[in-house]
Each structure stands twice: as structure tokens, then as C-alpha cells.
Subunit: 213 residues, 2 copies
DNA sequence: GTCTATAAAAGGATAGAC
DNA sequence: GTCTATCCTTTTATAGAC
């Protein structure tokens, strides 16, 4: 049964998200999956192999979809390249889809971005290197002239931060809403991200003019 | 010697930042500090107590400074309350100061924001509850009319995300710069954060108008 | 306050039967 | 593929001498 393998991955995903990658033992994962202790090593070789398996299962399709959308956006653009909004949308939308379908895993992706453990940092680079490079190039091209290098990298980094905290702490939105309204999700959440970040990215370097003298 | 206590806190701060709170044993911390294994329990009672000690030492002054600045900004404002920029500045500046003086600890704060372990989540609420509530109220008041509740909480959350990722992954900026320029820090970094986030917060709900028909 | 020594538990990993 | 049993290491925590 390859079903056992899936059961292990599912339990690992849930528990890693709930307690952090370093906060869960392999034994606990297998217990939750109702699977014998020896089978994690049988299927994944080691604890690290299990972690890689959990991450790869969903990150590879995520990256593929992001790159597919970016290719589309760039193909449809003129010689100056696409404007910033559709580029951001190609970056955000697949991640927000994942947040809707596999919220536990979305938390994991965010945690991987801020992880300290050297092995996880390395894995992060392996998994996201191409995507981050292609999108950061596309975003740079789409920004107005007059921004300095430091401003561009800062803003690109801030943009990433909005997504990462949304992936890790999406449930905080419901707390902040305190039942007074529905929290945005799916397409609406993508739209909020694009609006916020494109405004931030293209803002004039000096910021808003003061209210009035 | 209360110096021993400080040595333990310093080593814990450094190692927690380098490997994650769950990735370091108390023994490793004490070894790095050159301190006997038994002394962590003598001073802090337990592993959890040590974590609390590390966090409290710097978060309490950080919060106090943030609230002091917010009080100032609100006292100087008219009856409609202060505009969004100085409120953001009061929130960001003390954190960026901390990033300059104790970069390891800044990483820790960020990790605490996205932490999964229930004990850490609880501690996070204890430590930041008042500050987050006061600032989110001030920011809400400063936003233009016409934003819906979901839009307001989303944007406030995005704003927090820009800061958190800056605290946890500040060193990524240097990687992105690849030696071509100096990465912003201190006052300049605060200015970038304020510019990006105030533009995002006050953006019209529909986003930028498309380029031209 | 600082040390040694040790208890008690948990975790990763594997051997070998079925 | 799945199971039991076991090994080895690491870790938290504490007792008690100095």
C-alpha cells in the first residue's frame, strides 16, 4: 500500500504545522497516522528525508504553477515587460490557492521561509531559488524609474513579508475580525495583497506628501 | 555573580536565533556560555523559564518605547487623531533599533510571531497583546474612509508581515544586493517601511487604475 | 553559587521475524 | 510491507557535596 506513505505525509504535515518542524518527533507522527514506528525509516530513510518528502509533495506543483502564470503574463506583455500587478498576481494566487486547500501546509511554507536550522535553510534555497529569482527580475523591471537599488530590494522583501505572514498566521485575521465580518480569502485575498503591495512597490521614494502646510 | 545569568541569556539568544528555539538544548547553551549544566535550572527553573527570560529581557523595553512614541504622536495630533505615517514610525522605529543593536534577538521576535508551539503562542499573546491592540486602533483611525472591515484587517496584517520578515530575514537583503550597494538600515530602513506600508494602507480599494485604454 | 553524578524519559535508528 | 524488540544517544531535571 502506497496509502501508508500518504498517511504518514498527511500526519506529518498536520503536526509540523501545529507544533513546528522541530517540535514533533517521528514517533508522534506515526502514532497519529496509526502506523508502525519503523515505517517512516522504511519509506523516507530518515527524519530529514520525511521532512523533504512533506515539503516537496506540494512545493513542486506550487512552483510550476507560479512559473506557468508568469510565463503567460510575460508572453502577453509588450517589449517593456508586464506591469507589476499581474506579476504579483502570478506570485500570490497559487500560494493563496494552497492556503485554501492545504492551510497546514501553507503554514509550513511560511515557517520554512523564516527557519533558522541550517538544513532547512539549505532546503529552502533548493526549493525556491528559481522562482524567487525569476519573480524578482520581473518585479524589478516593472517598477518606475527613480528607485535606488536599496529601495528596490527592500520593497521586494516587504512584498514577500506580506505573503509569508499571511501564510503562517492567516488565522489571526479571524481573531482581528472578532466575528464582525467575514475574513477575505481566495480571489479577494489575492486582490488585497496585489493592491497593498503594488501601491507600496510603486510609491514615490519620499512617501506621501504631508497633509498640507 | 549575576554575570553568569547574563552569560546564559546571551548564549541562549545567540543559539536560539541561529538554530531556532526548538533546535537548541539547554546543555548546548550552557556549554557555549562556559557555564555548568546545573545553573540554568538554578536561575530559571526550567527550559521554559529560560525562554521566557530571554524574551522578556528585551521585549519589555521594546514595548515601553513603542507605547511612549505612540503617546507622543497621539498627544501632538488634532481631534481626528494622527496620520498614519507617524503611527507606523512609532511602531517600526524601536523594532529597527533593536535589529541594529541585537540582530539575533530581532530574529527571535520574528520567529515568535510565526511560532506554532502552543506555549510560545501563549507567551506571544502575553507579551504583545497591549501593543498590538493600541497600534491597530490607532492605525484604523488613521485610514481613509471607504475601506471595509476585511480590507482594514488585511492591510494591518500585511503591514505586520513587512516588519516580521525584515526582523527574521534581514540578512537576505544583503544577499539580494549581491554587493552592488549598501543595504538600508536604521533610519533609512524605517523610512522604507513607512513609505511602503503607508502607501499600501491608504491605497484606493480597487487598486491602481490600469495603464491607459 | 558552583560543581559532580545520576535519575528518568524520549528520540532516532535498525535488526530480524513474519 | 509490516511488525516487535532493542540499541544508543541526547535531553531535562534534580540530589547532594563543596
Amino acid at each position: 500500500m502506497t496509502d501508508t506513505k500518504t498517511a504518514i505525509l498527511d500526519s506529518a504535515e498536520r503536526l509540523f504545522a501545529a507544533r513546528g518542524v522541530d517540535g514533533v518527533s517521528v514517533r508522534a507522527i506515526l502514532a497519529e497516522a496509526g502506523v508502525n514506528v519503523a515505517l517512516a525509516h522504511y519509506y523516507f530513510g530518515s527524519r530529514d528525508g520525511l521532512i523533504r518528502g512533506v515539503l516537496r509533495r506540494r512545493i513542486e506543483p506550487l512552483n510550476a504553477e507560479r512559473l506557468r502564470l508568469l510565463d503567460e503574463v510575460e508572453a502577453a506583455a509588450g517589449p517593456d515587460g508586464p506591469p507589476v500587478e499581474p506579476v504579483l498576481r502570478a506570485f500570490f494566487a497559487p500560494a493563496i490557492d494552497l492556503l485554501g486547500e492545504h492551510p497546514d501546509f501553507a503554514r509550513l511554507i511560511g515557517q520554512l521561509h523564516v527557519a533558522s536550522a541550517p538544513a532547512l535553510r539549505q532546503l529552502f534555497l533548493e526549493l525556491f531559488d528559481v522562482v524567487l529569482r525569476r519573480f524578482s527580475d520581473a518585479i524589478k523591471r516593472s517598477l518606475p524609474a527613480g528607485l535606488s537599488g536599496p529601495q528596490i530590494v527592500s520593497r521586494a522583501h516587504f512584498m514577500l513579508g506580506t505573503l509569508i505572514l499571511t501564510l503562517t498566521n492567516y488565522s489571526d485575521l479571524a481573531l482581528m475580525a472578532r466575528g464582525r465580518f467575514e475574513v477575505p480569502r481566495g480571489e479577494m485575498l489575492v486582490r488585497e495583497l496585489v493592491t497593498f503591495c503594488s501601491a507600496g512597490l510603486v510609491a514615490p521614494p519620499e512617501g506621501r506628501a504631508p497633509a498640507s502646510p
